[in-house]
Amino acid sequence: MSKSKKEGGGKWINMIGLAVLVVCYAGAIWNVVKAKRQESRADVIRVVHWQLELGVRDGLASLIEDFEALKAEQGQSVEVVQIPIPEGAYNQYVTTQLIGGTAPDMIQIGKFPVEYLGRYFYPLSNKLQKPNPFLGERLAELNQKSERSEVEETQRTLLETLAPKAWMDTFNDGLRGQFVPEFQEYFGVGFSTFTVRMYYNKNLFLKVLGHDRPPASFEELISFSEAIKEYGEEHSISLLPIASSKYQAEVFRNRYLGEITSDLDRLWDLDHSGEMDGVESLMAMLRGEHTPWNPQYRAAMDVVQSLASFFPRGFMSMGREDSGFAFVQGKAGMITSGSWDALSYLKKIQDQPVENRFEVGIFDLPSISLTHPEYGIYADGRLSEASAGTGFAFGITRFTSNFDLCVEFLQYATTPEMNTHVNEIAGWIPVITGAIPKEWLKNFQPNIVGYVGNIRFEVLGGGKVKLREDQVFWPLISGDTDYETYASELWSSLPAEAATDFKRLYEGSRESIPNRQARKSAYLANVVFGGQDPQNRAVNEIQLQRSLQPLLLFKTTQKKMDRMLELTLEDAPEDERSVEFNQEFFKALEREMSQ
């Protein structure tokens, strides 16, 4: 009896399994049929992205609707399908689709290895160096009108300047942010730009501080935070001066490390490229200048520590969403985040019960002034946003059968009107010259004033030195260890970790050569087989030159690293700490290189 019962149960499980299989199979067939039917009815282009923030999908949907209508007017049936994918699954989705050869026509660029760009995306430099035809068409349309409104006249004046320009030069930053140095090519066309600011609760400021103006200096940021903390304690309410998680703490660290050490970044930039790289950072360690006891570095850490005392307890285990949630609920005075969160915050505050809603103010993170009693002597200035660049960019994959239509879609999306329109709905900052940001976003406009770089402990991006520094940094910031413990623990383990990173950089530069060489061979052949027309030939030669740039860089990287080491040793310090550090580093390097 029991045996037959078991057999019966087994059969049911098999049946359920089979049913699930049939349903999945039917679903898959339905999807394929649907896609095929879509394609037979119209030219379909699929666009995938990871921006699930409030407003972004609506902004894109509106753009798509307008584009489809325009094409319909021209007698072409076009369907643009938007595929939003959660950020966490994006890399896996894109990788699977690209490797499987089934990728959508356009993919938002980011979160996948840069090498994919060369393998799966069309370079767009040549297209970007020609004018955007939509601007010329609109200008001609406006010129034909016998009477123009004031708005149209302004638009016409703007278009007279923009229309003859190269498409890339119609972007506020010339689309520099989308240039990929590894390939010396542009692969993406972006729609928005982003900066980081502080949001604050004006109602709470008024209640606690008696005014609703933002802090005008770093000292005020600290004193306002102290006041909010005291107010919460006095009234026994849970009130955070600054809502923070690890994510926000990183923003503060980056900002204030730069404010206090960017002059050292320029000083230790041995090749004068404009920014110190990981190898140059290591050379400064070997010269005994870049240590955790460097007074400027120490001051920057003190600044971050002083801010962290206003973060919630256990902020390290909180997520970015948790801190955002605390702020929109009115439980915090301030929070730092990017312009990408602006619309979400405002909407969530509006969704609160009426008595909990509040007015939001936005201000730039205050700089440390030269008159600050402790840190003033090291203050260099704010971090420049000159290279904020253009983000939310899409590339065209090699699997598309509608390349020209994709280009047309991107050109249409990046006219001043459409760029304004999409960003208005998304609540983001537009990037095209003449496109107007929403009033409340003006505080987020990138600010050129300031400097770049800092002297953090990182030799290889995300390498072992960085990992080790992270391990000791968080206990320091959360108050679990003191500075001396942080410094000595970090310093003692750095030689071995730095040697591993150095070796990876040294050998990694050679690993990239075969691919670059293969690509260069294609461009060289293209010069010879691409015809004798001088104009075409010049274009092909320039493409060859661009492919040579990264190849030359990789071919000379080891030579440069060797020379930097040689010059550094000529100037090696003789104090006990440095001598010990250098001996351990070279011992570890010898071991690494022999493996």
Binding site: L544, T556, K560
Partner: protein, 313 residues
């Protein structure tokens, strides 16, 4: 009389052309087969297996000899440059096959260029250097010869700062001085890359004057379109630093800072360069205002220009 003669020769010419066209089974200057275009596109994406299939298909086409040679060279390149499963012997054999077919001179040079790489991969350095030298001597005015010059320099220069590196740089300078080439921003050939390479050799040998000459040439021949916005900005910054810190010529440094901020305001070092240009008085207040840089308020400008005046006094 002249018109009769002209007509006579014109008719004769037409007859010859007709005979020639009939004698060759292919039309003159036929379009490149689509499959060959596809093969190159796949090759550029490094999708070597697909490219190989297309090149093989192209070889079966009934088309001009030159396209068949191109397809064979493509096949050889796949064998030479593919990441996995390449076969240098097969590549060499295919290249030799084309060479035996007496291809046009430029095609022959292209093959020699690839063969030089192939020999270097095999460790046959002498053979490789012979080919590179021939390319440099016979076609310094073409990108094939200039590419060979770059490769030879990297191969022979040894370490940065070594006597070999300075000898290699001097050799490049000799070639450059004998060049008879009309170089323009629109058609820079590979000269920006050559100057960048030599500029770096001198920089790491601490010969900053010579380094500056070549880096300056890079910045003048190259443009953001032909090299890149970032590399142009970076070289201007480097030149400014060389003149400021190594050669003690602040006036000249100021000029480079000025070129940087006026031409390349969207890079990280823009504001720093603006400060320096103001300090060295190579830019006026109205020129800065015309740049309309976001965030640069009149208060900040007042401060920058008054500091500069203070230093002067």
């Amino acid at each position: 009389m002249l018109s009769i003669l002209f007509t006579k020769y014109a008719v004769r010419g037409l007859v010859y052309l007709g005979v020639l066209a009939t004698a060759t089974s292919q039309p003159l200057c036929a379009e490149k087969p689509e499959v060959l275009e596809k093969a190159w596109q796949e090759y550029q994406f490094l999708s070597m297996e697909v490219a190989e299939t297309y090149f093989q298909e192209a070889l079966k086409q009934d088309t001009e000899e030159s396209y068949l040679q191109e397809a064979k060279i493509g096949l050889a390149m796949v064998s030479q440059f593919r990441e996995r499963g390449g076969d240098l012997d097969v590549a060499e054999k295919l290249y030799q096959d084309v060479l035996e077919q007496d291809p046009p001179e430029e095609t022959r040079r292209l093959i020699h260029s690839f063969l030089a790489d192939l020999y270097l991969s095999r460790g046959e350095d002498e053979k490789a250097l012979d080919l590179l030298n021939t390319l440099i001597e016979t076609s310094p005015e073409s990108v094939l010869g200039q590419d060979a010059l770059i490769r030879k320099t990297i191969f022979t220069m040894g370490a940065y700062g070594s006597p070999e590196s300075l000898a290699a740089a001097a050799e490049v300078e000799t070639v450059l001085s004998e060049l008879n080439l009309e170089v323009s921003e629109e058609r820079p050939y590979l000269l920006p890359m050559i100057h960048s390479l030599v500029g770096n050799i001198y920089f790491w040998a601490a010969d900053y004057s010579k380094s500056a000459v070549h880096l300056d040439a890079f910045s003048r021949i190259g443009t953001p379109e032909t090299t890149s916005y970032g590399s142009q900005a970076s070289v201007l910054y480097r030149l400014a630093k060389i003149f400021e810190n190594k050669l003690n010529q602040p006036e000249l440094a100021g000029n480079y800072y000025r070129r940087l901020i006026t031409g390349y305001p969207n890079v990280g070092m823009s504001y720093y360069s603006l400060e320096r240009a103001i300090q060295y008085k190579t830019i006026t207040r109205s020129e800065v205002e015309d740049l309309r840089l976001n965030g640069l308020t009149s208060e900040i400008l007042d401060e920058l220009f008054s500091q500069s005046e203070g230093e002067k006094n």
